[in-house]
Amino acid sequence: MTTTSSYPDRGSRGSGWTAVEKEELERAVRERQAGFWLYLLSDALIFALLFATWAVMADRIATGPDTRSLLDLNKAFVETMLLLSSSFTFGLATLELRADRVRNCLLWMAVTFLLGAAFLGFELTEFMGLIDQGAGPDVSGSLSSFFTLVGTHGLHVTAGLVWLAVSFIQLLVIGNDIQLCARIERLGMFWHFLDIVWIGIFTFVYLWGAAA
């Protein structure tokens, strides 16, 4: 568990706060971190159930095309690389923030955003391509579960990108302080969590698809 002492306290907004307020906020940061872990566990269960649904429904193609043979492993590999390197650059951003080098942090956050957006772009073109081929989510149970599993991950990435953009502006406006530093760290947990989920998707959707 992270201790608050490792957070820099350099922002503009905390300067007028009393000792009691600071103490409360440090405790709040610890509690929010714990709460966020619980949220991630809960979210992980949603993905677990979506994976289970995919396992049950992947072959229920009815009169539609075979979902697994439609998937492009090369594209998925590029997506994987984009997302994994965005996780690495986010890690660098967090380290810079901890060391209170805000400009470097902003730079790495921008790189992370671009990588994440590129990932999303690839995913959307893949979805569009499938729909154009007549393989949209309303064609079969198999495609419904594919689009929902991968799309839910994509929605999470979108939410992460919005959060990233907001944090970027916050860092510019407010400066680095305990609250913001911890919040960006939680965003990091979220971002790495999405990586882990994607590894599952790459394995159980795309690699399994390539085997088909």
């Binding site: 809960s42 149970g141 907001v166």
Partner: protein, 655 residues
């Protein structure tokens, strides 16, 4: 697609006079409340003291209010059904089938999601921070958001009576019936979005309570010194965090099927409706324990206090609670033994189900042994507790019966099942909440409830319960399926009339409870709790004033023992250290949680009626509000300086 989606003038309830009367009553009641608040000039205090509050005690009281309102609505549905079934031998009764189906769907949905859940969440909110010696929950703002999301879900269900129709697919919304091909229209969508919005609130409540209990306990309060109610709140919260995702997933999939033409659960095109049954009950069975465990905690507190003894077998009760929590995830298939699993799978789930009876039996014995040789005071909470113990055991026995797959093949989908789960949830959850309500009422409001009317309510309720539900067991053996709008078996009618009479007794019980509230409020001077400890309590919540100050305790107590307050009373020569901090930080009130709840309500409404632009705007509003909070330079705390303690108290009292 029009500007208002599929909303139109034909959405108003002209299809059934009973539905129209219900809708009119609801609208009139709402208007009367608005008029009363305006006439009395209550808007300002209402906003300042209640709607904007993030105080866990006030949020708890608002949950209880919501639960009370929804209990009345859910019970009205029950009365309508009992009357219909008492009349409808070889006739149509007075309710058209379409309306009857809405009523049983609404009854179940309301009682589970919008009566029982708010009731237990309200009690947990009021009591748990006090029991662990904390100033508030870990996330007070989020707590308020959870409440308003629950309120938004409840409001959607209430609205369905006035605009459009509610689901006719039962409270479980099983596909394929709940799919567009069989049930077009907004009904099932009302169910989906009410459940999704409220379910998000429950998940966040679970996280909140869990972090509160794990990280905000007073110094010295190890896990095994926590009061049993706090233990059950902990396990219930774990279940909420881990079970609600399944409900979110299954309901969202159903929404995708209905709104975007996906094929998760449809008949054709590769849909798999068994997946819905699995996902729904992976949430649904733990949900039973989410409802029942806190009630077990309440019974434990009540029994110990009113037997003036330490709880017998505290450790075994803690372990039994935890074991029930784990086992609750291993039995979901017993809700659909007949849906095609193999005999071996059924046997595994049947045995797992029977095993749950073991820790539950441990608990019953622990309560009985706590009473054994105790000096028992027969107060209203104790009445509910003893009534529970006797009645619940019958329900448990019928549950073990149903856990045997071959028996279940005979009894499933009959009113025997209806009798069984009412026999679990009415004594097992509701009686517990009533016990907790009268037990902690003085803590929350500062005066006790009238005992005479409380006992009258108990006798009416328990008599009514037996008269209403024992006939259903017999009817189940006679082969009566559940959810019958009319029937042609003359032999059923006498028992159905008996059941309707039972419902009238329960109505009398509810009336007694309303009278009890009025009488107690009228006599609040003489029932006043001046000491903060009206029952000679054993746990920390009784160590502070009734109602507690906004910061709960002047000084956070140090805990030396299980039942700390009883320990302090019994330990000769114990003197608490003097002194208390003179500066206390409390979270600031905010109207944002209400605004988020309101936006979630509008979002749900827009999704139900396919008003896409409005749904997008509501979502963006929530996003904007959350983003704005991130930019405040304020610490979000208000600092209370207690230089002169009495003056501070007076100041709080007057504000």
């Amino acid at each position: 697609m029009t500007f208002l989606g599929r909303l139109g003038i034909d959405s108003l309830p002209f299809y059934s006079p009973v539905a129209f009367a219900g809708a009119a009553t609801e609208v009139l009641a709402a208007l009367m409340i608005l008029a009363l608040v305006t006439w009395k000039g209550w808007w300002k205090p209402l906003f300042r003291d209640w709607i904007a509050t993030v105080d866990h005690k006030k949020i708890g009281i608002m949950y209880l209010f919501l639960a009370g309102v929804m209990l009345l609505r859910g019970f009205a549905d029950a009365m309508l059904m009992r009357l219909q079934q008492a009349m409808a031998l070889n006739s149509d009764g007075y309710l058209p089938p379409e309306h009857f189906n809405q009523i049983f769907s609404a009854h179940g949905t309301i009682m589970i999601f919008f009566m029982a859940m708010p009731f237990l969440t309200g009690l947990i909110n009021i009591v748990v921070p006090l029991q662990i010696g904390a100033r508030d929950v870990a996330f007070p703002f989020l707590n308020a958001v959870s409440f308003w999301l629950t309120g938004a879900g409840a409001a959607l269900v209430l609205l369905s009576l006035v605009i459009g129709k509610f689901s006719t697919a039962g409270w479980t919304a099983y596909p394929p019936f709940s799919e567009n091909s069989f049930t077009p229209g907004p009904g099932v969508d009302y169910w989906i979005w009410a459940v999704l919005v409220a379910g998000a609130g429950s998940t966040m409540t679970g996280i909140n309570v869990l972090v509160t209990i794990l990280m905000r306990r007073a110094p010295g309060m190890s896990l095994m010194r926590m009061p049993l109610f706090t233990w059950t709140a902990l396990v219930t919260s774990i279940l909420m965090v881990f079970a609600f995702p399944a409900l979110t997933t299954s309901s969202a999939m159903l929404a995708l099927d209905r709104t975007l033409g996906f094929h998760f659960f449809t008949n054709g095109d590769g849909g798999n409706m068994m997946n819905y049954a699995n996902l729904f009950w992976i949430w649904g069975h733990p949900e039973v324990y989410i409802l029942i465990l806190p009630a077990f905690g309440i019974y434990s507190e009540v029994v110990a206090t009113f037997s003036d003894k330490r709880l017998f077998g505290y450790t075994s009760l803690v372990f039994a609670t935890a074991v029930i929590g784990v086992l609750s995830f291993t039995v979901w298939l017993h809700h659909f033994f007949t849906m095609g699993a193999s005999a071996n799978v059924n046997a595994v789930f049947g045995i797992a189900t029977m095993i749950i009876a073991v820790p539950t039996g441990v608990k019953v014995f622990d309560w009985l042994f706590t009473m054994y040789r105790g000096s028992i005071r027969l107060t209203t909470p104790m009445y509910w507790t003893i009534g529970f113990m006797v009645t619940f055991v019958i329900g448990g026995a019928t549950g073990v019966l149903l856990a045997i797959p071959p028996v279940d093949f005979l009894m499933h989908n009959s009113v025997f099942l209806v009798a069984h789960f009412h026999n679990m949830l009415i004594p097992g959850a509701l009686f517990g909440f009533f016990a907790g309500f009268s037990y902690w009422f003085p803590k929350a409001f500062g005066y006790r409830l009238d005992e005479t009317w409380g006992k009258r309510a108990f006798w009416a309720w328990i008599t009514g319960f037996y008269i209403a539900f024992m006939p259903l067991y017999a009817l189940g053996f006679m082969g009566m399926p559940r959810r019958m709008e009319h029937y042609d078996v003359a032999g059923w009618q006498p028992l159905l009339i008996t059941a309707a009479i039972g419902a009238v007794f329960i109505l009398a019980g509810i009336a007694c409870q309303i009278v009890q509230l009025y009488v107690s409020w009228k006599n609040r001077e003489s029932l006043c709790d001046t000491t903060g400890d009206p029952w000679d309590g054993r746990t920390l919540e009784w160590m502070t004033s009734s109602p507690p100050k906004p910061w709960n305790f002047d000084r956070i107590p140090t805990v030396h023992s299980l039942d700390e307050f009883a320990w302090r009373k019994e330990t000769a020569g114990f003197v608490d250290e003097p002194g208390a901090p003179d500066v206390i930080a409390l979270p600031k009130d905010s109207l944002l949680p209400m605004a988020i709840g309101a936006s979630a309500f509008i979002f749900g409404f827009a999704m139900i009626w396919h008003i896409w632009w409005l749904a997008i705007m509501a979502l963006l509003t929530i996003l904007a509000m959350l983003t704005a909070t991130g930019f405040t330079r304020d610490s979000g705390l208000r600092i209370i300086r207690i230089e002169n303690r009495d003056a501070a108290r007076a100041e709080v009292a007057s504000s």
